[in-house]
Structure formats: C-alpha cells, structure tokens
C-alpha cells in the first residue's frame, strides 16, 4: 500500500483557470480572511452592545440580551448558515428576496452576516462576564460621583472589562477564522473549500489538506502573537494579569 506523494503539485496549473494550485489556495485564504475579518467587526460591535445590555438594570433589556445569546448559541452554526441562505430570502417580501438571491457574492455576504451574529452572542457572553467580574462598588462609585449610567460604563466599567476579556476574545477571534470554513456549505470557496477542490482535481488528498492545515496554523499563530502584544500594551498596571482562567467549553 503506497501513497504517491507529490509535493510539486502546488506549482502545477489548476483547471480552474486561476493559475497554479497554489494560487487557488491563496485565493481561498483571501476569502477566509475577508469573511473572518468582516464577521469579526460585526461580532465585536454587536457583542459589546448586547454584553453591556445584559448588565444594565433595565429588566426587559436584559431579557432581550439573554434571548439573543441563547438563540445564537443553541442552534448549530451550519443550520444558521442555511437559515440565512435559504430561508431568510423566502420570508422577506418577494422583490427583496429576489434581489438578495441574485446579489453577486451572495454566499460571502450571507456568511459574514451569519458568522458575525453567531459570534456576537459569544462575544456578548464574554463581555458580560468581564463586566460582572468587576467589583460592584465600581458601578456604585461612578453613580455616586454623579456620572450617568452611560458615563459609568464609558469611563469606569468598560475600560476595565475590555482588558479583562482580551484573552477570551482572542480565542473567539481564532474561532471566527476556523468557523468561516462552514461557509463552504453555501458555496463560498474559502480555504478549506479550495483545498477540497485541489484534492478533487489533482487527487493529491494529503498534500492539499496538509497545506490548508499549515496555513490555518500559521494564521492562528499570527493572531495569538498579535493579541499577546495588544494585551501587553493594554495591561492594567498592578493587576496580576489575566492568565488562563477557568476553561470554557467551546471551539
């Protein structure tokens, strides 16, 4: 039993007309990065808002935030992908639905929205935990000083909380990159999908997947190093440092 290794495959021309197989992979990497980055922007923005809302004294707002997190956390990402891609355009008014379906790169936009909202629930959970880990005296002190509630969040709670949640946010960012691979099910040719197409055209299964795995690992490493640098820059002087807290289940 012998597998014919051929590492030179990456320099051969691929039938997709993009040039070599390596170019196919690089194009896939580009889509992975674009999807992950765009989704991460949505996730951070929405996640911050929802996370803050879940710690406010207003009851119905808190409920709304909780519901948001539960809905996005308890439905598999793949099912959410299908809902956004197949179901949402049908539920909208016919003209809007048709426009959505005919949009060029609709798979990309769908993936960004879906992944962004999915991740926003996870970011919100981290932000909430960060805010709640602060001593309750800080909030009271802010109010006692005459700050309004938004001011208390802006000047007292959030600057601390965001620094505390940096390490878990790093792993959420890594998750966005990895989860973007799910978008191949709705036809986005990102990194995993291009490795798959390389495999289907050239039959060099293990070379293709090895290359993709190495690229994902390199991405991970870059993000981890970058975030560590950012964490050091933003570290609160005098704190022991956030280190590894309790592990949370998740990907």
């Amino acid at each position: 039993m012998k597998y014919n290794w051929n590492w030179g495959i990456f320099w051969q021309l691929s039938p997709d007309g993009r040039g070599t197989y390596l170019d196919t992979l690089v194009a896939g990497l580009g889509w992975t990065l674009a999807t992950a980055m765009a989704a991460w922007v949505i996730a951070l923005a929405l996640g911050m808002i929802v996370g803050v809302v879940r710690t406010t004294p207003t009851r119905w707002l808190r409920r709304l935030g909780d519901a948001w997190v539960e809905v996005f956390r308890n439905v598999p990402l793949l099912v959410q992908m299908f809902l956004w891609f197949f179901v949402v355009p049908e539920l909208l008014p016919a003209s809007v639905g048709t426009w959505l379906k005919q949009l060029p790169r609709s798979a990309f936009y769908t993936a960004v929205v879906c992944l962004g909202l999915y991740t926003s629930a996870r970011v919100a959970e981290q932000v909430r935990a960060g805010i709640q880990s602060l001593a309750s005296g800080q909030r009271m002190a802010g109010i006692a000083l005459g700050l309004t509630l938004p001011q208390t969040y802006r000047f007292i709670l959030l600057p601390m909380a965001i620094r505390i949640v940096m390490p878990p946010l790093t792993s959420e960012f890594l998750n966005v990159i990895k989860n973007s691979a799910v978008a191949l099910t709705i036809g986005l040719v990102e990194l995993t999908a291009s490795a798959r197409s390389l495999q289907e055209f050239s039959f060099q299964v293990f070379e293709a997947f090895t290359a993709a795995t190495l690229i994902y690992m390199a991405l991970n490493l870059i993000v981890v190093i970058g975030m560590r640098w950012l964490e050091r820059r933003l570290a609160v002087p005098g704190l022991i440092g956030s280190g590894q807290a309790m592990p949370l289940a998740g990907h």
């Binding site: 039993m1 597998y3 539960e70 809905v71 956390r73 308890n74 439905v75 598999p76 990402l77 793949l78 099912v79 959410q80 299908f82 809902l83 197949f86 179901v87 049908e90 539920l91 890594l174 990895k178 989860n179 973007s180 691979a181 799910v182 191949l184 099910t185 995993t192 490795a195 798959r196 495999q199 299964v205 293990f206 997947f209 993709a212 795995t213 994902y216 690992m217 991405l219 991970n220 309790m246 592990p247 949370l248 289940a249 998740g250 990907h251």
Partner: protein, 231 residues
Amino acid sequence: MLTAFDWDVIRRTAPFLFREGMTFTLTLTALAMTGGIVFGTLLAMMRLASYRTLSTAASAYVNVMRSTPLVLVIFWFYFLVPWMGGWLLGATRPIQVGAFLSSLVTFMMFEAAYYCEIMRAGIQSIPRGQMWAGYALGLSYWQTMGQIVLPQAFRNMLPVLLTQTIILFQDTSLVYVLSITDFLGAASKVAQRDGRLVEMYLFVAVVYFAISFGLSSLVKRLQARLTVPGR
C-alpha cells in the same frame, strides 16, 4: 409568506427525521463523547507527564487539532481513516470505511483535544499534595490517578464537560459535508426533494434549539448544585 407554510411536510416526515436522522446524531454524539473523554483524559495525563517526549507530543496534537477547522478535520479523517485502517490491517489497498465509523473516529479524535484541555484544568485544580500522599501510601501512578485525582477532577469539571458535549451535539451536524443522513442531513434531503426548504430548516433549527437549550439549562442547575457555597 406564512400562509404558504406547509406544516404537513413536517408532520409527514418527522418520523423519518427522528428515526433515521436523530438516532444517528444522538448515537454519534454519545459514542464520540465517551471516546473523546477517555482519549482526552489520557492526553491530559500525557500533557502533564514529566517525560518531555510525552508532553510535547500531546500538546502538539492538541494544538494542531485546536487550530484546524472541524470541517477540514472531517475531510482529513474521511480520507485518512481508510489508509490508517489498511496500514493497521496490513492490507495492500486502503480499506472501505463506512460513513458512521469515519465520522465517529473524526469526532472522537477532534473533541479529545477539547476534552483534554478541560481535564487538564481539572487535574491541575487538585492540590499536588494528594499525589504525594498517594505515592507515600505506596500507590502506583495509575492507582493514584485513577482512584484519587481523576474522580475529583472529573467531578469538578462535570459541568464544563457536559457543555462541551452540547457543543459536540451541535457540531455533529457538520457531517452534512459528507452527505450523511444525520438529523440535518435527513431534513435537507426532504427539503430538496419536496422543495420545502423554509419549513424543514426552520423545523431543524427549532429542534436543535429545544434540545440544546434544555440540556444547557440542566447543566446550569447541576453547576449551581455542585458549586461550594462561599467559594
């Protein structure tokens, strides 16, 4: 919109969805959880071992798994398992491996990396003196681990292990990429056959939500019960 909603397709196909699809999903989840926790615990013990080679190998494995998307891992094992099987059995060609076995191996090996990190934290939360006490009593490494450390680590980490299992349950839907008839796969087949994508996918989402939400509420209750007051 909703007036065109065909409830009947759900009623008609629900027995098929649950009998074929959900059975597959739940079996896969249960077996992958068992295998993943066993293998993950072994990995955690390796990571904490004092032999450099063992701990390096284990952390390399865990880090590779944790930085690779599950979809890619599914494809990896789909092609790798036949070769591994052929090599193990000394066959001249890669052997035929069924879809179930292939996805079971995938999820066991993949989730083991995540269970490993949970169990590692659990083992590390036990005071080192307990290991020494075990050795002082003349117990071997395996006896100390098996009878003193691991039961406590397991108990402390039970809520996190279960939460990870709920995630595993949701993740098994990704076997869709191998066209396997799990719960989502079954629904997707019906959806495409009958042209009822809206109904079927909404139904799938509701079912997944109900199960995951119900289980995670149970885990929360368990966690509240296990927490030592005042700590």
